[in-house]
Structures are given as structure tokens and as C-alpha cells.
Symmetry: C3
Subunit: 366 residues, 3 copies
């Protein structure tokens, strides 16, 4: 009997979420009837949540058929496909600030909101929870590397202000290449040379039989393609409605990108991570939160820089000071919480507190 | 026989300090005879040292009668009552910069001076000293949270410079609420859900019988009220003499707040922490230093922001860049020293070195 | 039989390096024939590499004759003598920016390049490598202290911009004194009170018999003096050719200082550290990388500030923002990697990635 590989972390029961798929036709209807863009924005956002979850599940099932190596690679690459698609469509529309804001929001959302809620929820059931220190440690170091790769271009931008910015994009492009190489190396590390660190406790999981049914390769592929296409359409509507929605709700586009778009793109991971933490699978919960942040920072961000270069949009790694500081502070607090391999509810509460403080600042930022 | 609760950490032999109470009448005499404000400042400062100690001892005794829950709460709230009173009186006098400087000074003073001296003194007697990693770890994470809550408003202030500052106070107020909630949560954590982490080694302490006599509830209450009233009067004199003293001594008000006022308010904790470290009660010493900093950052600072809101003084969380950086660096170096649960004399020396470097910079700052 | 002390970490087989001594006469020849300064720069740089190694070896041999105490002191003081000489000659020539750049480059080069390459090379042979957490922890805390001592003057410089800079040099000088005292204290810690932490695994080393021959005291002294004199001459040529070389190669003097000069001065440590890591002597490799950085920051930098004061050159601790941030980020990532006492190849790759990102930024910096 074929053994289930452990990477199937995003699998979850679709029934509660599948009801939300009803927002897909509703959103299309609203778009076709030229309804108020605010409603289009809301329904598109709500529609993306189950679709992103569906993409994750389909990817997991497909990965299972492809074996640990290629399957793991697929998971790592398509795990944040929804964010990549939203980012790409916003990039095409020239909304560079929204692209950067949603990258920022995904990183801090995964670290602070997803992990914060998971650790808090898990901590309310278990006094102390444990996870693999070495794996968590590699994760936070990669996040620190990502932070550094955003601090340097931002500082460079500040220092050279006044000079012609000729070399600025070149620097961003070359740093993106370094990040991309680090991403590939981290896959080699986690899928090959040190994969035992990421295995977790096999028995527990099979006991609880999360997702008993295995999709056929064909079904998984069809679902993945279909969900990707629909996500792309919904993202088109979402991005098209951002400007108007921001104006009507009296929010900045950056706030919408950092908080709202990021929540939409990560809602599936969010619910899975909280569920895992409540089942005391802290390793999986940490993996989802930290792993997603790393994927955004080391894979999605560089790919969007490369894409911007190709399609001629001025996308680079020069984020605003506030975004860079937010990511740096989120990484810092995560380092403090993750480095001992233990967690308790208060640590989750603190991560959420930092999220609230940052969200307040982004809200008031003009 | 009633068992002594362990929170009685501030108890110390009053005889050497009680002599310093002589500065109380001396200060009143000088004030009444309109003496040089520099002398009023000095005598008021010296008078506050034993009074703050007396308040701590009375609170400890009172807490003992009230049981671990309410008693712990009382300790946590009144542990830094002297700083709160000084801060409130300076706030009323409109000396916002002095209030912020003394908050900064209390935080870095507790981290660098109190803990530095304790670790150094303890380390000269014992090659390696040990303390509870988890409790220290929660402490430094709370300090990191406090640091973040000062970085964000300062950065916000920088970024919006030029725009109307309408939302700036709102941001400070809301962050203060988040901090205050975190403070309450940290009390629930340390007094209820995870109190075993803070118990320390009972036997050692009762053996050495620090403070054998137990005050009656009535005596404790009377001493507490009397000391509070006198501290308030001395603080009034101290604050009233700050401006003149700064001018005469050629120091800035900020330096006086950061270094002198902070030392006065923390002298009692200081001597207790050093004593505890020399008796190899490293857990208690760390608790005093880190705990006091957290109380200042998560309780005193927000309460002063609320008070400023009520009495109409423009108190917010926008500290100067130098103050924010000083607190961030102090927290950073503490993280490095506290995260392994061990200390040696060199670590104490390094904390003191950072204190000297910061004090020098505050001294030369125009 | 006299036992070899363990500090002899820099000892290495001179045969491959000694061939490079041929660059010494070549460089002198080029200088005398007034050749293109670029060639003088290159040959002087290549000549310094084996000379710096020779100085290290001679110091080790001399230290052996002097016993652990004085010998350790000698090692600690002359371990980075080449950097000190280059720095002093550049200081005399008034190239303050090059001095600071080469200090920056030595610190980040040792942390990121030397340790990164060592950890990567060692990690390719051994899945996980271990080193003494406590010693590494003291090292990174001292590096954090050094970082703080550069952040404060830089921030001070920013804050007082506009005011007369009267107290700025005074601040740098006093911080330098604090750093120098900390350096002496760290020697007392590592050579006296806690020397057992630095002993390593004796047996391994004597088994492999690195450097079997012991030089006589006389031979060691003569080689040390001769190498020092020649290094001084080569440094004179190197520094004299910096400006022209920078212009011709289209690089800034800062880039040359941070990257090229720093590599030249640390090449010997570099090869030794990599070799040690590949032999699984991770303690020694960490010691070399972290120890050298500390020597530069706590000994070479303050001594150059003192020297600048004496010879009337305006040398202080006010480094550029980019330099300070580079050192802070290098220290931060090292903290994350060194704090668990374990290393793997991916951690080495990440240190190198940060080095590449910083080097790119320094390259493009106008």
C-alpha cells in the first residue's frame, strides 16, 4: 500500500469552505451587471478563500502521486500560487504598491496572525507545546535573510536619494537572484539532505486520518487547473476594484494590500494551522506559518521582480520604510518565540498584539 | 502556620536605608527656606530612595495577607508606584520630555544597570549562575513587544512629518490599550496559568530567612499610605527643581530624567537584585530587573498616556529616536544574555558597558 | 615534555602560501619602476596574504614559549597585526574612509565570508557540526556590544547634524576606551577565569599533528619582526595605490576597503578556518571567525581611534549608515546561526548569501 507522504499539510475538510465557492458565480454576476466595485471586491475576496484552499488540496493530492522529491517541489512552488497569481495580476495593472503591500501583508500575516492564532489556540488546550527547534531555527534564519534583502535596497534607496537611480533596479534584480538561489537551496535542505528534520510524528497523523480519500492524479490535476483559472479571474476582479474600494472605505491601497488581500490569500493556511495546533501538531503549524512566509519572501517576491522585468513594470525590492520595519519586527519577535522549541498561549497573544499594533499603524498611515 | 509567598522579593533590611529618611525633613526644610533648587533636587532624590524601598516592603507585607492572587496583583501594580508618582507629577507640570526620559531611563536602567550589576556581582562569586530560561524568555519577549510599541509610533511620526498629526495621538492611545491588555495577560500567565515557572527554589530562601518579621495588615497599610504621600511630596519638589538643576549643572533635562531620576526610582530594586544575585538567587534577580522593566513599559507608560489624555497633557508614545534606539539596543543585548539561562561575570560587565555607552551619548546630546 | 598550548590555531603548512612571497620582490620592483599603480595594488595585496599568515604563525610559535598567559595575550594582540598595520598606514595617509571601510570589511568578512565558507565546507562533509554554545554566545554578545558602539555614534551624528560637532570626537574617544576595557576583560575571561570553555578537544588535534616542528624563540621573533617590517612596506604601497586603482577599476574606495583590503588581511585566517571546519574542529573555526571580528572591533578600531588622536587625524567611530547597518545585520544573522551550538551547510550558505547581498550594495553605492 502506498504510504502517504507527510507534506500533505494543507489538506482540510472542504465542506465548510466549499459553501464559500458560491461567491464565485455571485462575483461574476456582480461584475457583469457593473455593480458597485466594493461589492465586487468583497465577493471576489470571499471567493478566493475556498479557491486558494482548493488549489492547496489539489496540489497536495497531486504531490502524493509524484513522490516525495517532485511532489515536495510542487507543494513548495504551488503552496502560495494564489498569492503569486494575485500579485502577478496587480503587477500587470501597474499597482506596484499593492503588490508590495500584499507581499508585506502575507509575510507578517503568516508570522503574526497565522502563527499567533495557532499558538494561542493550541496553548489554551495544552500548557506547553513543543516543536523541532532546528527546523524552526532554519526557518527564522531564512526569514532574517529575507528581511536583510529588503533592508538593504530600502537603505540603498535612502542613501542614494538625489543620485540617478540607474543601479537601483540592478541591485534589486541581483538580490532577487540570490534569494531565489537560497530558496532552491532550502528545498534541497528540507527535501533531501536534512528531510528527517521535517518528518514530524507519523503515527499521530495517520491515526487521526486527516483526509481519508486520495484523489486520482487526473482529478487532482483537473481541480488544480480549474481552481487556478478561476482564482485568476477572481483576482482580476479583486485588483480591478481595489482603487475604488480604497476610496469608498476611506482606507489606503497599502492598508487593503497589507491586511485585507493578505488575509484572503492566507485564509486556508490559517485555518489549517490553527487546527493542527489544537491537535498538538505544533511542528506542522509552525511549518505552515514559517514555510508560507519564506515562500512569499524567497519565491513569490523574486518571481514578481523577474516578471516585472519581463513585462516592463518597475517592480523592485524597494519597499517602504514602514513595510521593511514591520517585516523586521515580525521576524524579530518570531525569533524570540521560536528559538526555544516551546510555545505557550502567552506567546501567541504577543504575536497577535504585534499584529494589531502594526495593523493600527498601517490603518492610520496616510 | 501561614506560609510566606515567594513574591516577597523586595524585602530588605531597612536599617541602612532608613537613615536616608533623614533627607525627608531636610528637603522640606530647604524647600521652605527657598534654598538653591539644586540642593532641593539632590535631597528630594536621596529621600525618595528609602521611601520607594519602604513602599515596596509595605506592599510585599500587605500582599502576604491578601493571598497569592490579589497579593501578586498588588505587588505587580504597586511595585513601581514611586516611578508612577514621579511620572504623574512631572506630567501635571507639563514636563512631557522628562516623563518620557524617566520611562526610558527606568527601562534601560533596570535592564543594563540593575541586571548588569547583579550578574557581575553574582558572577564574581559563582563561576556560572543559572536561572529559569522560560520565565526569562517570556520577559524578554514582553520587552521586545514594548520596544516594538515604541518603534512604531516613532517611525509613524517620522513618516507622516508634514501631514497633520491628527491620528498620531489616537495611534499612541490604541497601542497603549494593547500594551495594557498584554500586561493583564502577562499577570494571568505568571500568577495563574504558569505560576510554577515563577516559584523559584523555596527552601533556599526560607533558610536564609530574609525579613523574619511579618507586619500586620494594618501596619503595612499605614506604612504604604504614609510612604506614598511623602513620595508624592518629594516628587513634587524633585520635579519642581529639575529645570533649574539641569541649567546649573549644565545637563539636559533628558539626561537628568534618563539617568538621575531613573536611578533614584530604582535604587531599592537595585540593591535587592544585587543582594539576591550574590546569594545565587539568580531567578529572583532576573525577575526584579526584567519584571520592573516590563512594569514600566506595559503598565506605567500606558497609564501615563491615559492620564495625559484625561488631564489634557499631550503625553503619547512618540519617544525620541535616541530613546527608542537605546531601549531597542538594551533589549537586544539582554536577549543575547538571557536566552541561554546561564550568566557569568563577563555578561554583567557587558550590560554595564552598554549602559555607560548610552549614558555618555545621553550626556553629550544637546 | 612541554605541552603545546591550544591557542596555536593559525598554524598552517606554509608551502603553498610561501610561493606567494614572490610577490614581495615583484611589488617592490614595480614600485621602483613607477609601474601602473593598479599592478602595485594587486601585487602588494597578494604579497600581504602570505606575510599576514607568516606573522600569525610566528606569533603562535612565540606564544608557545611564553606560556598560556602572556602567550595568549600576544596571540590576541598580534593576531590581527596585519590589519592594524594597514589601518595605521591608511590613517597616516589621511584615508579615513578607507580605514573605516577596511574595519567594516574585516568584521563582516570574518562573520559572513570566513564563517560562511567554513560552515558550508564543513557541512558538506558532516550532516551536523557542533561547537561550544557558551563560548560562541560570549563572542556574539561582544559583537553585539561592538555593533552598539558603532550605532550610537552614527545616530548621535545624525541627531546633532547642524550643531557644532565639538563633543562628537569626545564621545567616540570615550566609547573607544569602554571597548578597549571590554577587550581586556574578555581576555581575562577567556585566558583566566573561564579558559576551560576555550580548550576544545585536545586529543584530536595532537593526533593530526598540525605543524609538528616547533620554532625556537629566536627564530619566531626574527620571522615576526621581518614579516612585520615587510607587511608595513607592502601596506604603504597598497595604500598609496588605492586612490588610483579605485578610479581605474571604476570602484569606490569604500568598496575596495570593505571587500578587497579586508579579504587580503584575512585570507590566512580564512584558509585555516575552512580547513578546521573540514576536519570537524568547529570550535576552532568559530573561534577564528568570531575571535577575529572581535579583535578588529574591540582592539584594532579603538587603537586606531587613539592613534588618530595622537597623530592628529580625525579618526572616530562615526561610520557610514551603510557600514553600521551591514555590521548590525551580519551580527544579527550570526546570532541566529551560532546560538544553538549546531551548524549545517545551509547555515553556511545563508551567511555567504548575506555577504553577497552586502557586497553588491557596497559595489553599487556611489
Amino acid at each position: 500500500m502506498k504510504k502517504r507522504i507527510k507534506l500533505r499539510k494543507f489538506e482540510f475538510d472542504l465542506t465548510p469552505l466549499s459553501a464559500m465557492l458560491a461567491f464565485v458565480p455571485l462575483c461574476i454576476l456582480l461584475e457583469m451587471s457593473h455593480a458597485d466595485p466594493v461589492w465586487i471586491f468583497i465577493t471576489a475576496g470571499l471567493a478566493i478563500i475556498p479557491l486558494a484552499g482548493l488549489m492547496g488540496t489539489a496540489t497536495e493530492h497531486l504531490a502524493e502521486h509524484l513522490g516525495a522529491g517532485i511532489g515536495g517541489l510542487l507543494n513548495a512552488t504551488f503552496g502560495n500560487a494564489a498569492e503569486l497569481i494575485i500579485g502577478f495580476i496587480a503587477l500587470q495593472a501597474g499597482l506596484i504598491d499593492v503588490v508590495k503591500a500584499s507581499i508585506t501583508g502575507s509575510i507578517i500575516g503568516n508570522i503574526l496572525l497565522v502563527l499567533g492564532a495557532s499558538i494561542l489556540a493550541g496553548g489554551l488546550k495544552y500548557e506547553t507545546q513543543y516543536f523541532n527547534r532546528t527546523a524552526a531555527s532554519l526557518g527564522v534564519t531564512l526569514l532574517a535573510l529575507s528581511t536583510i534583502s529588503l533592508i538593504i535596497p530600502a537603505l540603498f534607496h535612502m542613501v542614494i536619494s538625489g543620485h540617478p537611480a540607474a543601479h537601483e533596479r540592478e541591485l534589486s534584480l541581483e538580490i532577487s537572484i540570490v534569494l531565489f538561489i537560497c530558496y532552491i537551496l532550502s528545498l534541497i535542505f528540507s527535501l533531501r539532505t536534512h528531510k528527517h528534520l521535517y518528518v514530524g510524528d507519523e503515527t499521530d497523523d495517520s491515526d487521526e486520518a486527516i483526509g481519508t480519500e486520495t484523489w486520482t492524479q487526473k482529478k487532482a490535476l483537473i481541480v488544480l487547473i480549474a481552481a487556478t483559472v478561476v482564482v485568476a479571474i477572481m483576482s482580476e476582479f479583486l485588483v480591478g476594484a481595489v482603487e475604488h474600494t480604497a476610496r469608498v472605505l476611506g482606507m489606503t491601497e497599502v492598508f487593503i494590500g497589507v491586511i485585507l488581500v493578505a488575509i484572503v490569500g492566507n485564509a486556508a493556511e490559517h485555518s489549517t494551522a490553527v487546527l493542527m495546533a489544537m491537535k498538538n501538531h505544533m511542528d506542522l503549524a509552525m511549518n505552515i506559518g514559517i514555510g508560507s512566509s519564506i515562500q512569499i519572501a524567497l519565491f513569490v517576491a523574486p518571481v514578481l521582480v523577474f516578471a516585472g522585468y519581463v513585462i516592463g513594470q518597475p517592480m523592485d525590492l524597494v519597499f517602504t520604510t514602514f513595510e521593511v520595519v514591520a517585516i523586521a519586527l515580525a521576524t524579530w519577535i518570531l525569533v524570540l518565540i521560536a528559538s526555544d522549541g516551546e510555545s505557550n498561549w502567552m506567546e501567541g497573544a504577543q504575536l497577535l498584539a504585534v499584529y494589531v499594533i502594526l495593523a493600527l499603524a498601517f490603518y492610520f498611515l496616510p
